[in-house]
């Protein structure tokens, strides 16, 4: 794959909820066109990391650069406008709105509105389930379909980088497979698109990502290429029990 340079650089980031610090000096890098997985047990600080990058939590110290521009401390809507978008494990959908309305709202930022049709077609292409259920209320769908919708809504923001928080949580294996197939299709279609994926399910994540970090107790404890380093590393055994 052609090297496109660093898209997201997180430098020595510390963060947490109020007085409770859960992230201690985390650094990582995502290149354009790359899928990077952050693996680690529950409570390792993975979701805190994503929320801090997204401006939903204020970092105590450290810096976040996106496209060489410093974005830490910016409000979330600015970071969305820069081209980062987040899909949370809790989905956070608009339950009384239809699938289509949820997707439309994903394109709320000005840049995304111009490419609305194009992105809508892309989302409905990678998750055909959503196409069938366009007029159904989001709150009445199954967990897996809601997860697809949450990811689809995040993709509607016309981002360059998708932060993906545990897309497999609580889902049946067949749904997890459908979601990862959709994501693989997305990476084929969208040149230069990047994903920072946070997962507990090591198998799915390592099959999808090219680079991996392992987090534990709010710190990065290992980084390397998925194919070689991460899968064979002793850390896999120590921290993830596989």
């Amino acid at each position: 794959m052609r090297k496109l340079g660093s898209l997201l650089r997180v430098q020595d980031l510390s963060s947490g909820y109020g007085e409770i610090q859960t992230l201690w000096g985390v650094s990582l890098n995502v290149d354009a066109g790359e899928v990077v997985a952050v693996l680690g047990p529950n409570g390792a600080g993975k979701t805190t990391l994503l929320k801090t990058i997204m401006g939903m939590l204020k970092p105590y110290s450290g810096a976040v650069f996106f496209n060489s521009k410093r974005i830490d401390g910016q409000p979330t809507e600015k970071i969305v406008a820069e081209g980062v978008s987040l899909s949370l494990a809790e989905k956070e959908l608009f339950p009384q709105m239809t699938v289509r309305e949820n997707l439309l709202l994903g394109a709320f930022n000005k840049r995304a509105r111009k490419k609305l049709e194009e992105n809508m077609e892309l989302v409905l292409d990678i998750f055909p389930r959503l196409r069938e259920r366009q007029n159904q209320k989001a709150g009445t769908m199954s967990g897996g379909e809601q997860q697809m919708l949450a990811i689809g809504r995040a993709l509607m923001a016309d981002a360059k980088l998708l932060l993906l928080d545990e897309p497999s949580t609580g889902l049946a294996p067949i749904m997890v497979k459908a979601i990862y197939n959709g994501l693989k299709r997305l990476m084929e279609v969208k040149q230069g698109f990047s994903i920072l994926l946070v997962e507990q399910r090591v198998k799915d994540a390592t099959e999808f990502a090219q680079k991996g970090y392992i987090m534990a107790n709010g710190r990065i404890v290992f980084e390397g290429d998925i194919a070689g380093d991460v899968r064979s590393s002793e850390f896999m055994h120590k921290y993830l029990g596989v």
Binding site: M56, E77, V80, L88, F94, P95, Q96, N109, R153
Partner: protein, 290 residues
Amino acid sequence: MDASSLLFVLDGLVLGTILSLIAVGLTMIYGLAGVLNLSHGEILVTGTVASSILLQYTGLPLPLSLAAGVLVTIGAGVFIEKVILRPVYALEGDERVLLGLYITLAFSILLHGILLTTFPTAYLTINLPTPTIDLNGIRLRTAQIFAGGFSSLFLVILFFFLKRSWTGMAIRSLTQNEVGALLVGVNVRRYRLLVFVLGSLLVALAGIIRSVVATVGPENGFEFTILALLVCVVGGVRSVYGTIVAGLMLGVVYSFLVYLIGTYLAYVALLAVVMVTLLVRPYGIVGEKL
């Protein structure tokens, strides 16, 4: 149906659309800010008092006086959001709802006192040039048609605004999931202010329309708040569409009750109707759980 009961239905619908205009603002503000604004009826009266004062003492033409009244109401709404409710936003959940109730109730009593003691005679009544028209032998008050027509028009505009425009969609998204709205890039604070402006605009328009069919005096504020609260609760506290339907329903019911048992008992009976409705449908007629 005979002609007189038809007139009562019309009467009720007109009252209903006015109540809906007031209550919709209350619903949206509650949905977005988590505050049940008990001074909402009082700022309606603030607007009509301002218009009335301008008409009486400055000789400003009617349309300009009314426009100035609308601006005063919007100003009061912005003041509530930016100043009065500042400490409320530091709290979350039930605590926010409670403190919001106390503070807006206090502000409402304060406003009521100021308006009543300073401008006790600032009544607003707008008389249309032709009072009645004949329609197939039924004499209709033009004021009713005017009032019903305009408030329906505003409600329809509001409906499409919420359904179709980006701003309207953002408002609805915030009432359903604040984190979700944040994720798609909606600025919570800006829209909270916007919804106060919108709610104030609607309540100001309701005040003007009400003064076409009746007289609005400086003492009427609390009555509007109470009626609007009833409409909100019956409609389902966060549902705009439910609020509109409930407004129409209560308006018609109230008009018939006035006709059947007189003004005083009608109020009591209306409350009974609301109680029964809530016993049967605790989440309001639209029935969305929070």
